[in-house]
């Protein structure tokens, strides 16, 4: 049977506002599955041209797949969201790159011809499911020194990265973090972010936390506009005495969910769905687990090579800011300035937060908005580091560009 590889497009993406994990967080009394269900429903409301019965798959990522993040979330979320029973679903885990992997997995299947249109997203409620909940690492990791003991603690891997690149100082990381907050605040002021947020009703029964009863969340909770270098300078370095990584130059512990529609380009056009980004290539790569923040570099190398592009062809970057040091290592590698205007134009996870398995689709949603505003840009990429020493990169083409769809 002759088979043609099909073009895959990013149709639309939404997310819940992100919250701070823990008893004082906005989502403390909200279930994880409800977050992703509400994101899926908003996505369908925004795209009435997509007949839910034509959805071929629901791929939902979560790192800790137990409790309200377990039970094959992709399937249960589909039912809870009111999708027809004929629509199947499954769960995905690649820790921080969960949602990104949900997108690439379904994209591969679309290109192959197995699916036409798919919901892909992720959720992480780090308040209900703290990192490391229920894990049982094989003792051989340590006894055979397969990985350094620090590999399981992301903050320590970030400190390790500072060791590897001594020129990435705490000051540079803090300066980067301040800019992330500034850019995020500006993006909010300009209304760039809110249009892709799903309002979430939240209940609070604890009067010590704040007003009790039902409320509505319409904005990200972790943001700290007005952050200054001075305010960051005095923060503790919890992962190492006299270290470099603080709560200020890293993403926090967060709750949130994302969802996107990924489709074959043909399906999208036939069904009058928007085409916001066209998938060019993607790649994953492994690195030493104790410096997992380095992961985006080999992943990007691979993705560029597969696309036949060079870093110079990429005019917009959405890099997940798990840690400022990890972004700076990437920028240094490619000789890009810390404050390059192509990088994280709306700010990043240091400001918005990073609910692990949900973040990948946030990067895509933001890149899609930037593509729309900047038709002169042809290529952009989304990249992130992943626990246990991995990186993930997806390269996208801007369909609004005059040459889009043609050969490079």
């Amino acid at each position: 049977m002759p088979r043609t590889v099909r073009d895959v497009v990013f149709v639309d993406g939404v997310r819940t506002p992100f919250g701070k994990a823990g008893p004082k967080g906005i989502y403390h009394e909200t279930r994880a599955d409800d977050l992703v269900v509400k994101a899926i429903r908003e996505l369908l409301r925004r795209n009435p041209a997509l007949d839910p019965a034509k959805i071929d798959e629901v791929a939902i990522a979560a790192t800790t797949q137990i409790g309200d993040q377990g039970l094959t979330l992709g399937r249960t979320a589909g039912i809870l969201a009111g999708l027809p029973q004929s629509v199947p679903g499954y769960s995905i885990d690649r820790m921080c790159a969960g949602a990104l992997t949900a997108v690439t997995s379904v994209a591969g299947s679309i290109a192959f011809g197995a699916y036409d249109a798919v919901i892909a997203g992720g959720v992480e409620h780090m308040g209900r499911h703290p990192m490391g909940e229920g894990v049982d690492p094989n003792p051989r990791f340590v006894s055979e020194k397969l990985v350094d003991e620090s590999a399981l603690f992301m903050g320590m891997t970030a400190e390790n990265l500072h060791d590897r690149y001594p020129h990435i100082t705490k000051l540079r990381a803090d300066e980067y973090a301040v800019r992330s907050q500034e850019k995020a605040a500006k993006a909010y002021a300009d209304g760039k972010i809110q249009q892709d947020l799903v309002p979430i009703s939240v209940r609070n029964t604890n009067s010590e936390v704040g007003e009790t009863g039902w409320g509505l969340v319409t904005a990200d909770e972790p943001m700290r506009p007005g952050t200054t270098l001075e305010s960051l300078a005095g923060l503790k370095t919890p992962f190492r005495v006299h270290g470099n990584v603080t709560a200020g130059n890293a993403a926090g512990l967060n709750d949130g969910a994302t969802a996107s529609i990924i489709a074959s380009e043909e399906f999208a056009r036939e069904n009058n769905l928007p085409v916001k980004m066209r998938l060019v290539s993607y790649a994953f790569a492994g690195v030493e687990p104790e410096v997992m923040g380095y992961g985006p570099i080999p992943a990007t190398e691979k993705a560029l090579a597969k696309a036949g592009l060079s870093i110079g062809d990429i005019d917009l970057f959405e890099i997940n800011e798990a840690f400022a040091v990890q972004v700076l290592a990437f920028l240094d590698h490619y000789g890009i300035a810390d404050d390059d205007a192509r990088v994280n134009q709306y700010g990043g996870a240091i400001a918005y937060g990073h609910p692990l398995a949900s973040s990948g689709v946030r990067l895509m949603t933001q890149l899609a908005r930037q593509f729309e505003e900047q038709p002169e840009v042809r290529y952009g990429l989304t990249t992130m580091c992943v626990g246990f020493g991995m990186g993930a990169t997806v390269i996208w083409e801007n369909p609004h560009h005059k040459d889009a769809g043609g050969s490079k």
Binding site: K38, R41, P199, R203, E211, G213, W214, L216
Partner: protein, 713 residues
Amino acid sequence: MSTTTAELLKGAAELFPDEVVTSAHVRHLELPYGAGRFALITLDNGFDHTKPTTFGPGSLANLNTAIDQVEKEAAEGSIVGAGVTGKPFIFAVGADLKGVEILKRHEDALAIGKSGHEVFKRLSALAVPTFAYYNGAAMGGGVEVGLHCTYRTVSKALPAFSLPEVFLGLVPGWGGCTLLPNLIGAEKAVSVIIENSLNQNRQLKGKQVFELGIADALFEGADFLEQSLVWTANVLKGDVAVERPEVDRGEGWDQAVAKGRFIADSKVHGAAPAAYRALDIIAASKDGDLQAGFDAEDSALADLIMGGELRSGIYAFNLVQKRAKRPAGAPDKNLARPVTKVGVVGAGLMASQLALLFLRRLEVPVVLTDIDQERVDKGVGYVHAEIDKLLAKSRINQDKANRLKGLVSGVLDKAEGFSDADFIIEAVFEEIGVKQQVFAEVEAVAPAHAILATNTSSLSVTEMASKLKHPERVVGFHFFNPVAILPLLEIVRGEQTDDVSLATAFGVARKLKKTAVLVKDAPAFVVNRILTRFMGEIQNVIDEGTPVAVAEKAVEPLGLPMSPLVLLELVGPAIGLHVSETLNRAFPDRFTVSENLAAVVKAGKRGFYVYSAENGFKPELDPEVAALLKQGDVALTEEQTRDRVLDAVAQEIGLMLDEGVVAEAQDIDLCLITGAGWPFHLGGITPYLDREGVSERVNGKKFLAQGVASVPA
């Protein structure tokens, strides 16, 4: 104004120290689309959905305080709107009935009505629009708090929405009678307030609430509150216009009220005041004068709270809601044996109905037996046909239909059918010798642990068991026709019945979703004994010379579901005669066997009445029956007849309690409500007999202590 209300509520709260107080949390939020700051009030009693949120005086005071805050914010312009919603799954289910029961003085009752109005109506008088978000179950005062708001949304997932006041003996008195017809028109309001209420308190679902026009928007349960708030933002920004159809304030209004009176007459026959009071208020609210309506609601509430019908209604409600779930005298349920297969002796209509019920509720194999193959086939065929009907009505799906059909079978050989049955019920001819024979045959083939149940309506269970090797496993299991509809199941303990058998019987009853009442093995048990005495006394009066029409009319003020002779027709005169003969043998001094009734049965008549199209199918005395009647020359008045009949009923119940037929008068009432459809406003019957002075006249004392189904002392 609010100070006065606060004081009223403080006084009321002191009368009700046990109130489960509902909080009214005020939380502020930013509406989507930059529509502005919004105050959302959450009604929450602090428990999960198994204990729904209610309003007592303390709860109203909390809501009043919340509105104080919101009112101030609205006036100073710091909010653009305010909303009210509930805890998960529950909006609010109305006034706390316990708080109503304890009221002793008219002025306290009036205070509850007035203060509810004073608090709720503030929601319609804020400087900003108000919104109710019916997220879950909403009843009575819960519905009403939303009616005072400017706009309402409702969840598609909302399972129950009603104004059940008339059902209990009240009126929707915190604005419902006035606001609802002014919102959706009198016709729809009458259907909600009167028709649904009197139709066994029928509930509306979210979609219907929207379709009736009570709510302005309908959203799915998954993100109901989010979408309600998005909608709110759009309404406040003017992007969504709320349009409601014009209410017909002309003839349609009067016709609706007239229809309401017709419905009330057909259900309570003028015997309970609540529906009529509600209709009076609906009628008067035609001109849209809300305050006049609220005042009328206050006085109706106060009058009804101090009246016997409401107290009976609440008493009856508690019987069916609470006592029915914890049968008095039932043994420890842990003693019950599992029932994994059921045998039914007989394949006639009653047996087939029982087979269907066991099959649907227990979902275990059910085997019918009878004396010839034709009867067996007919019984199984009946069950199959009923399953097909359920399938056609989409009450079950094809898989369930296949499963149920696969579980029912019929055999001629009892040994084959019953050798592994755990529970065997007989529904054969009502004759002690026949039943003893059947049980002997069953015992010979059934497992040693099997329960043998009898659906007898008047024979002695003890006698039926007496010839068995193991009489301890025989129980009476007396259903009421129609079996699928009437909830009552009289469970009869024979003299030798043991606790395990009894516990198993109660366990089966619970699975059958029946209201089980433990009854001593006494002639005709409870319902049939009382009904037979009641109807027997009517028959006596007729036989002695009172015209049939006078005798029938005499008991109309009770508001029974049907007249005695219409009931006789439903039961069948032959069965009525048979039961009266049984009771006559047991208690010849009180139960007579009417020669007239015997003559009617002998003539093969199915009843006393004929019905014709020319006469609108109203009952008319059958001339052939009239010709059969041999009456004496003592004609009583309606009042004399009524006294005599009620005296007889009071005497019989007094004797039954003395004999220990049931544990308490409450069980008598529960039986009459669930087995004979006797109305809530009578509280079954003993509250009525108490408040009409009959109990004291006949027995020298009341059946129930003051306050149980009456205004407390």
